[in-house]
Each structure stands twice: as structure tokens, then as C-alpha cells.
């Protein structure tokens, strides 16, 4: 059934080696007077991803060459650890699902590496940045390629670590470090869920081998209750990684990192790992629809919430961040309702257009010397035509305007919701589509149209170097046309991606009337159109920031969720720690020591005072003892 292909182990290895080399170079030379040249770093940095990309292509075609049910390439590098029934191999699995992820991760990763060479120039920690970036890519690839949950967890935590390191990259500023801590800790909460989920899964069905293929075989032994527990725990992990309610709070703050990082990690790849994981475990989720629907609802509500927040943001990256959260919500809605291929396809397209948007935003920021407030921009379309063009394409894709890629993937999800009878999810989905269109083009209009709001920085603005614009263009093409890969039947397509993914997913496509499908498409397009027009009406001619009042103010402050978390979680935690170490530790836990010491001293002084020094008293002691003993003894004689 599956074939072994040893070379797939190399795919994550290249970036990791790159990371090691770069890291050592930087670590050993950064304190020198003149650091190594950025060219050297840049080239070294880009080798790894590019190589991985080519290997990914090889994998893809290798799989394509195989008959559909045999499209499983495995490679067990070595036994990682084996205890009792628990056998964990450091193994890799390339199947249609992972190969798809592999392709766009390596592709976009390479592009963003190239872009970063331009973006990060003149940064003193140039080398460190690329070391981290490579490390991230390596971990991401382990995550994708891992042949079992435990190996996946390695990548899972690895990407979390890299995101921490990269968010707190400008570590002199406390806020950035705090944002990094927040990201890592929240992710850790998610990982807790993942670990517990894995443990339950192992005790349930893991004894026959703890990798996906064996688990898939034994999945039928899974009792419903354990299944629900496992699914929900794993989903907690997904929430942490993919920023879903209630763990989404770290992602907006994560924008503190350099923009390419936001593009690569916090938009294109890492955050979608949760979706990928759910799809990976489709063979379990398919067993317990209840858990699936919970996933779907959490997803769609997240989408709604994030969309609301997105409508009121003023920081260009925050807008994109919330749009990411919102799109992730879509994806979870998709995988939640067992439309795994649709969810994964949205992951795929979203990677392109969201990376595109971020990189575009990056070049805007670059052009304006790290100005991120959209209300200080405006009219940039003649200054940055290339960027503008690409951004518009990205925006259209994000907004889901046909025929751009976003439209097809999103519509696939919404349609599956409709088809599988989750009308509520579908309705909210449509609503969110409209809001998405609104806030996306609000951003576009405010940034690029109208009149410059900050003349002086406007004058200095100029198109970034081609090393940055080239990736934009490539991504723009991707964002524009990847949609056709999964054309639904109604457009004469054949759902190519879905069919490609079929072997590695456990799903069934409901057959419904074309009318219903048509109705769904119309509805979403209409919603998008409405959102677009409102956005144009309000901002098309250039407008100043409106006063946020009432609900808008509420939304502008993100429903005070951060404040609430701080109040009910963080502060109590710290306070509790303080109470323990200041009060409980000395006065409660240590009480047995204190008390016995006190007693000891007291008894000592008491007995000391018995030694009065008078012979007669000593004799009296003797006689007291004597009489007591004789009382005791006179029992024993009759």
C-alpha cells in the first residue's frame, strides 16, 4: 500500500542545516566589529528552502506517478523512542495531503526568503533573522511530513518556538518580547491539549503503532466518548496554533515581528497547521460528527468576531491579522463540517493571497519607513504602482470576488455547509464574506486612493527593490489563478484538488442539485458586492478616520477581550504566585518545621530549669519516680 522513499527525509533537513550554519555564523561573529556580508547570509539562507521546494516537486510527481490508492511515500529515519507498546519512529509520510502543503509551504517560503533579503537589509541581526526563518521552515516541514502525531508535535512546537523568537525579534522593546511570550504561552496551552489528546488517542488505539496509517486502520476501535475527548483536545491544540476562539488573542500581537514573518508564519503557513492537523485526523473526526460540528461553529464564530474587529483596525498589519483569523475560521468551518478538501484548498489559496497582501503591506511599510497606521497613508497608488496592483489582486482574492482564487475556495466551504445542512454556518459565512470585502477594500482605498494624509513621508515613498517586488508579482499570479485548480462542476471544473486529496482524507461529497449550488454562489457574490460598495462609498474618495462610537468603539477596542483575559487570568495567576511565595510558603507549608522548632526550644528550656542543683530536690526526683514505679509495680504482685 505505501512505498518507501528515503529522500523525503531530506526535505526538512535542508532548512535545518541552513539554520544551524547561519545561526553558528551569526552567533560567533555578531559581536565582531564588522559582521559578515548580507549577500553571504542571503544566499545561504535561500539555498535550503529552494532545494526543499524542488524536492517537494519531485515528491509531487512521484506521487502523481502512482495509482491513487497507493499514493503514500514513507520514510522511517530511525526509532525515536520505544517504550512498552509505544513505538515512535522519527518517520515521514508524504501523501497527497502533505505533498500539497509541502508544495505551497516551500514555494511561498522560498519567495518570502527572497523578499526578506531586501526587506531586512541593514538590520544588524540579518543573519539571526534568516537562521530563525530557516529553522521555522524546517520545523514546518517536519510538522507537515511527520508520519505520526508525535513527530508532528516536534514541528508543532518548533514552529511555535520560531514564532516566539521572531515576534520578539526586536527584543529591545519590551512590548515585542511580551507579544512573543504571549504567543508562546498561548500556543503552549494549545499544545497541552495536543499532548493530552495524543495520550488519550494512544491508550485508545495506539498500541498497534502510533503513526497515521496504523491509527487509521485501528480507528474503528475508537469508542465515541474517547473519540469526542480526543477530537476536542486535539482541537484545543489547533485553536492555539491557528488562533481560534478563545486562543486567538496572540495573533494580532504577533504582528510585532518583521512583516515577512507575519506573511510567512502568521498568515501563510504556521497558523494553518491547525487546519492541517484536523484534516490529518479526518479519520477520527469523521467518526464523531459532534466534535466536528463544534469545530465548525467555533471556526465560523471566530470568523465573525475577527471580521468585526477587522472592520475597525487602523494598523494595516492588524487588519490583515484579523482577516487571517477570520479566514482561519472559515477553514475550520470547512474541516468541521467534514469538507476537508475544501478547508485544505482554502488553506492553499489563502496562503497565496494572504502572503501577497502581507508582503504588499510590507513594501508599503518599507516605503514609508515603518509607518503602519493606515490613517497616515493615502494616495500611494501612483507612488507604488506595482505594489498597488498586486495588493488589489490580493484584496480581490481575499474578498472572494470571482474569478480570483479566494472566491472558489471560500465558496466551496460555504457550499459544503449549505449542502450538509449547516444553514446557520452558511449564513454567518456569507455575512462574514460581505464584511471581509468591506474591511479589505476599506484598507485598499484608505491606503492607496484619495490624497496623501502625511505629505512628507509620502514624498519620500518609492517602489521597493525588485528583490521585493518580484515575489509580489509571482504571488499575485498565484493569488489570481490558483482557484482554477479546484473548479467545481458548475463551472465545468472537476474539483481536481479534492480528488487529489481524496486518498488521504476520509470524506464524502454530498450530491445536491446544481440549483442549490448556484443559489449559494449568488448569495455570497451578492454579499461581497454589498460589502465592496459600502467600502467604496465610505472611503473610495479618501476620507478621514471616523469617530468610533457605540458598537464601533466596542469593536475598535476588540470587545476588551485582552483586558478581560488579563483581568481574569494573568493577574490572578501572578497574584496567586505571589501569595504562595510570600504567605503560604513561609506560614502554611513550612508550619510543621516552625512549630517543631518552637516546641523543641521550649522543652529544652523547661528541662534545663529542672536542674535546680539542690541535692534534696534530686533525691525527691528519685523518690517521685520510685513511688510512681511502685504504683505501677504493685499491680503486678497480688
Amino acid at each position: 500500500m505505501e512505498h518507501t522513499a528515503n529522500y523525503i527525509g531530506l526535505i526538512p533537513l535542508f532548512p535545518l542545516i541552513g539554520a544551524l550554519v547561519l545561526g553558528l555564523m551569526h552567533m560567533l561573529t555578531c559581536t565582531n566589529e564588522k559582521p559578515l556580508s548580507e549577500k553571504l547570509y542571503g544566499t545561504l539562507a535561500c539555498i535550503g528552502p529552494v532545494l526543499s521546494f524542488f524536492l517537494a516537486l519531485v515528491v509531487f510527481f512521484h506521487l502523481k506517478g502512482l495509482p491513487a490508492p497507493e499514493r503514500f511515500l514513507t520514510h522511517d529515519a530511525f526509532t525515536w523512542f520505544a517504550v512498552g507498546d509505544l513505538h515512535v519512529n522519527m518517520g515521514f509520510l508524504a501523501d497527497p495531503l502533505s505533498s500539497l502543503m509541502l508544495l505551497f509551504v516551500t514555494f511561498i517560503g522560498s519567495l518570502i526568503h527572497i523578499y526578506s533579503v531586501g526587506y531586512m537589509s541593514e538590520d544588524q541581526n540579518f543573519g539571526k533573522f534568516f537562521a530563525y526563518l530557516n529553522l521555522f521552515l524546517g520545523s514546518m516541514l517536519i510538522l507537515v511530513l511527520g508520519s505520526g502525531p508525535v513527530v508532528m508535535f516536534v514541528g508543532w512546537e518548533g514552529v511555535g518556538l520560531c514564532s516566539y523568537l521572531l515576534i520578539s525579534f526586536y527584543s529591545e522593546d519590551t512590548d515585542n518580547v511580551l507579544a512573543g511570550n504571549k504567543a508562546f504561552i498561548v500556543n503552549r496551552i494549545g499544545d497541552l491539549g495536543f499532548v493530552l489528546g495524543m495520550s488519550f488517542l494512544f491508550w485508545a488505539i495506539g498500541s498497534g503503532g502510533f503513526d497515521y496509517l496504523s491509527l487509521k486502520e485501528n480507528a474503528h476501535n475508537l469508542t465515541p466518548t474517547i473519540g469526542i475527548v480526543v477530537c476536542l483536545l486535539l482541537f484545543v491544540g489547533a485553536c492555539g496554533k491557528s488562533a481560534q476562539i478563545p486562543l486567538y488573542v496572540w495573533l494580532p500581537d504577533a504582528m510585532a515581528g518583521p512583516t515577512p514573518v507575519s506573511a510567512l508564519i502568521h498568515a501563510a503557513t504556521m497558523v494553518t497547521a491547525g487546519v492541517y492537523m484536523v484534516a490529518r485526523f479526518s479519520f477520527i473526526y469523521a467518526h464523531v460528527p459532534f466534535a466536528g460540528s463544534i469545530v465548525a461553529w467555533v471556526g465560523i464564530l471566530t470568523a465573525l468576531l475577527a471580521a468585526i474587529f477587522g472592520m475597525f483596525q487602523r494598523d494595516i498589519k492588524k487588519i490583515l491579522a484579523y482577516s487571517t483569523v477570520s479566514q482561519l475560521g472559515y477553514m475550520f468551518a470547512g474541516v468541521g463540517i467534514a469538507a476537508y478538501s475544501a478547508g485544505i484548498f482554502h488553506v492553499f489559496t489563502h496562503a497565496f493571497f494572504k502572503a501577497l497582501l502581507f508582503l504588499g503591506a510590507g513594501s508599503v511599510i518599507y516605503a514609508l519607513h515603518h509607518e503602519q497606521d493606515i490613517w497616515k497613508m493615502g494616495g500611494l497608488k501612483e507612488k507604488l504602482p506595482k505594489t498597488y496592483g498586486c495588493m488589489v489582486i490580493g484584496a480581490l482574492a481575499l474578498a472572494g470576488v470571482p474569478p480570483f482564487s479566494g472566491f472558489f475556495s471560500k465558496d466551496e466551504i460555504l457550499f459544503s455547509a449549505l449542502a450538509s445542512g449547516h444553514t446557520g454556518i452558511w449564513f454567518i459565512g456569507v455575512l462574514v464574506a460581505g464584511m471581509t470585502a468591506y474591511y479589505t477594500f476599506r484598507m485598499i482605498f484608505v491606503v492607496f486612493h484619495g490624497t496623501p494624509r502625511d505629505q512628507e513621508s509620502f514624498d519620500h515613498a518609492h517602489e521597493p527593490p525588485s528583490v521585493m517586488t518580484l515575489p509580489l508579482i509571482i504571488l499575485a499570479i498565484g493569488a489570481a489563478f490558483t482557484g482554477v485548480l479546484n473548479l467545481p462542476g458548475i463551472f465545468g471544473g472537476s474539483l481536481a484538488v479534492s480528488h487529489w486529496l481524496a486518498p488521504s482524507l476520509t470524506e464524502h461529497h454530498p450530491h445536491v442539485s446544481a440549483w442549490l449550488e448556484f443559489f449559494g454562489i449568488v448569495a455570497s457574490v451578492a454579499a461581497v458586492a454589498v460589502g465592496l460598495t459600502i467600502a467604496y462609498k465610505k472611503f473610495g474618495k479618501g476620507a478621514d478616520e471616523p469617530e468610533y462610537t457605540g458598537f464601533a468603539k466596542f469593536g475598535f477596542n476588540k470587545f476588551y477581550v485582552d483586558e478581560i483575559y488579563n483581568a481574569i487570568l494573568v493577574q490572578p495567576y501572578k497574584a496567586f504566585g505571589a501569595v504562595i511565595s510570600r504567605f503560604i510558603e513561609p506560614n502554611v507549608t513550612d508550619i510543621h518545621v516552625k512549630f517543631s522548632t518552637w516546641l523543641y526550644k521550649k522543652a529544652g528550656s523547661a528541662f534545663k530549669s529542672f536542674q535546680v542543683g539542690y541535692i534534696r530536690v534530686y533525691a525527691i526526683y528519685m523518690i517521685i519516680g520510685l513511688s510512681l514505679m511502685s504504683l505501677f509495680l504493685s499491680q503486678s504482685i497480688n
Binding site: 522543652a603 529544652g604 534545663k608 519516680g625 514505679m629 509495680l633 497480688n638
Partner: protein
Amino acid sequence: MHDFMSLLPLIIIGSGAILLMLLAAFEKIEVELAAYISMAIFGIGFVVQLLVGCGDQTVLFEKVFNGMLVSSNFTMIAGLIILGCGFFTAMCSHTYFKINQFCTLEFYSMMLFGACGMLLLSLSQELITAFIALEIMSLAIYILVGYDRTNVTSTEAILKYLMLGAFAGAFFTMGTALIYGGAASTKFADISTSIVDGSASHALMIGGAFLLFVALLFKVAAIPFHAWVIDVYEGAPTPVTGFMATALKTAVFAVFANFLALNDSLHGDWVTFLFYISVFTMFGGNLIAIGQNNLKRMLAASGIVHSGYLLIALVAISAEHFTGSVIGYYLAAYAVGTMGMFAALSYLGGKGEERMNFDDFKGLAKVRPYSAAAIAVFLLSMAGIPPTAGFMAKFYVITSAITAGHMALAVLGVVSSILSMWYYLRLIINMYFHDSEETFETSGSPLASAATFVLVFCVFAIGIYPIVI
């Protein structure tokens, strides 16, 4: 012949005592020489005792002494301990009296007489003999305690010891009388037989043994008969204190064990009694020791605690096959440790025993690291920390207790040794973790320090090769 051989150490010591007494009467020699002579006598006695060895339970000169002296392995061990302690005491006294000038020749003869009494006591198998031996020992020790006539505290010490000792002696005689009444004899063997054939009156045995034990418990300073020991130890000259603490206790415990082990039902009557006594002794001793600031007083109190442990061993002896090995080993270990402490004190104490408090020894390790190390070793041995002798001793005692089915006693013993930890560590902390105000200049001969280091060696030797068992 063998009987004579096993009496030989006793004879050597006795004749040595008389020899020294005569020398003293005619004032032919110097005190140092007397010290050397007594060392020699003790040494010879020790060697002879070691060479003689002896099998188990042989009655000496059955015809002549008519079964009043019996020697066994146990008595041999006791004899060895007593003689060894005497030897080291002589060494220490030599140094001590270089520093404090109130010694005359009789001192050493008294010491030898005392040792003679102790040996007799450990051998005796007859109550009145035991009583007389006890009195010989006690009288000699009284004299040694009060030897410094110019010093009022030592006079007070002798007064207390003498009065209370005589008081206890009276109990001993009354007890002997009752036992005589009960068993129509005072010889252990006859008592045993008459208990077995039931001719002995149980009540009289109980009462007599009770009064007897009062006296013995007084001598080993078991609570509540302990109060004298602390003052007397403080008042006595340091080497004498060492001698009392070790040799005297050994002898008394020897006779105690011999008497208890003479018959099983007799021992059975007293298990509960001794159980409580030992518990009270251990804990009371600890609690007394906590508050003490004077080292000799602290050691006296810790001596009480160790008596408690020995009483545990007494509780646990089985009269059927009594070897006394546990008691013997514990006595040896305790003797080595305590003797070492007093040896060190007797040359570190300085003139007129000016340095006797815990605080006087602050920073000793900085100035005299080796002495400090030795003292630390002795303290650890008394505290029962491996690999010292004290640990093995405690191990054997607790083992015997549990084997005899007294788990509770074992646990209590362990708890009490937890209590004892602090005042041992306190001195170590003073010696090591503080800076020294003074330079512990000591005059006098190196004999005492030599004794100290020999004893350090013994502590480890006995601890690592518990051949006695």
C-alpha cells in the same frame, strides 16, 4: 589455670593499684612517672585480657569463690572497654595535670582501684559481691571527682555524688535483702534455679529486683535517677568525667545485663518496666541536653540518652542465648566516642577548664583543624552518622529491638536520635562556621592529643569492622 588466666587482668590492676599506693605513701616518684606506670598497667591488663580471651560462661574458682565470679565473652568485652578507657584516661590525665596542678600520686592508684572495682563488678555473679565491687568503684570515683580539694565546685560535685550514691546503695542493700529472702540465696545461679523450680516468692523477687534496679539505674543515670549526673560531670576534672562516663557505665551495664539475663521469666517481668524507663531516659536526656551551654553538661545529658539506648538493648536481650554482643558493641562504640570527646576537651579545655562552653570553641577549625576534625568525628559518632562506630551501634540496638518485637521502641529510639541531632551539630557549627576570637594555645604534653587521634582511628575501625558481633 584458665580461671587464673581470666582473673589475671583483675589481679594485675589490683596489684598495680596497691603498688602505686605504696609508692604514693613513700612519695618516691613524680606524678608524670605515675601516669606512665598506670598507663603501662592498664596497657598490660588490656593486652592480657585480649590474649586470655575466653569461651562462654566459665565459673572462676568454683571451689574457692563458690561461683561468685563468672567470666564470659561479654565480661571480656566489658573488661577490654574498661581497661582501654582507663588507659586513655591515664593519657589524658597526664596532659591535664600538666595544665592544672592539683594532682598527687594517689590519683592514679585511685583510678586503678576504681578500674579494679569495675572489673569485679562486670565479673560478679553474686549480689553482695556486686554490691561491694560497686562500692569500691564508687568510692574510688567519688575521690577522683572531688580530687581538687581547693575547688568548691568539685567539692560540691563529690558531695552530691556521694550522698545520692550512698542513698542508691541503700536501695541496693534492701533489694539484696528482699531477693535473699525470696530466693534464699544471692547467687545468680541459685536465684535462677529457685525461680525455675518455683520455690522463690514472686513478690519478693519483684520487690527486690525493683530496689536493685533503682540503684543500678541510678548509677547509669536513667531518668528519673539522672539529676546528679549533670552536675557531677561538670564539677569533676575532665579526665575523670571521661572515665566515669565510659568505664563506670560499662561495668554497671555489664552487671545489669548479667542479672537480667540470668533467667527468662525474671527478664520477662521487667520488659514493660524497662521499656518505659528507656523511653523516658532517651527523651528526657535529649530535652535536657538541648538547653545546656556547657559541653560537659551536654555530654552528660547525651550520656543519659545513650543509657536509654542501652536500656533498649537490655529490653531486647533474650536470656536463652545471651551473648551481650549488642550491649558490648554499643558500649564500645559509645566509650570510644565519649572518651575521645573528653580526651580532646582535656587538652583544649585550658587552665582551670576555662574553655568548656559551646561558644568557647568558635572557630576552632580555623586554628586547629585536626582537633576540630577529631571532635567532629566523635560528635558524628555519638549522633550515629555512618560510617562511624556510633552508627553501627545504633543499628545493632534497633535491630535487636525489632527482632525482639519492639518496633515501637525502635521507632521511638530513632525519633529521639533525631532530637539529639541539633546539639551535636551545634558544636560542629560553632567550630567550623564561625571565625575564631582566640588562638587555642595549649600547654601540656601531647599525650592527650595522641589519645584523641588514636580514638578517631578506633571510631572508624570499630565502625567499619564490627568484629565484636
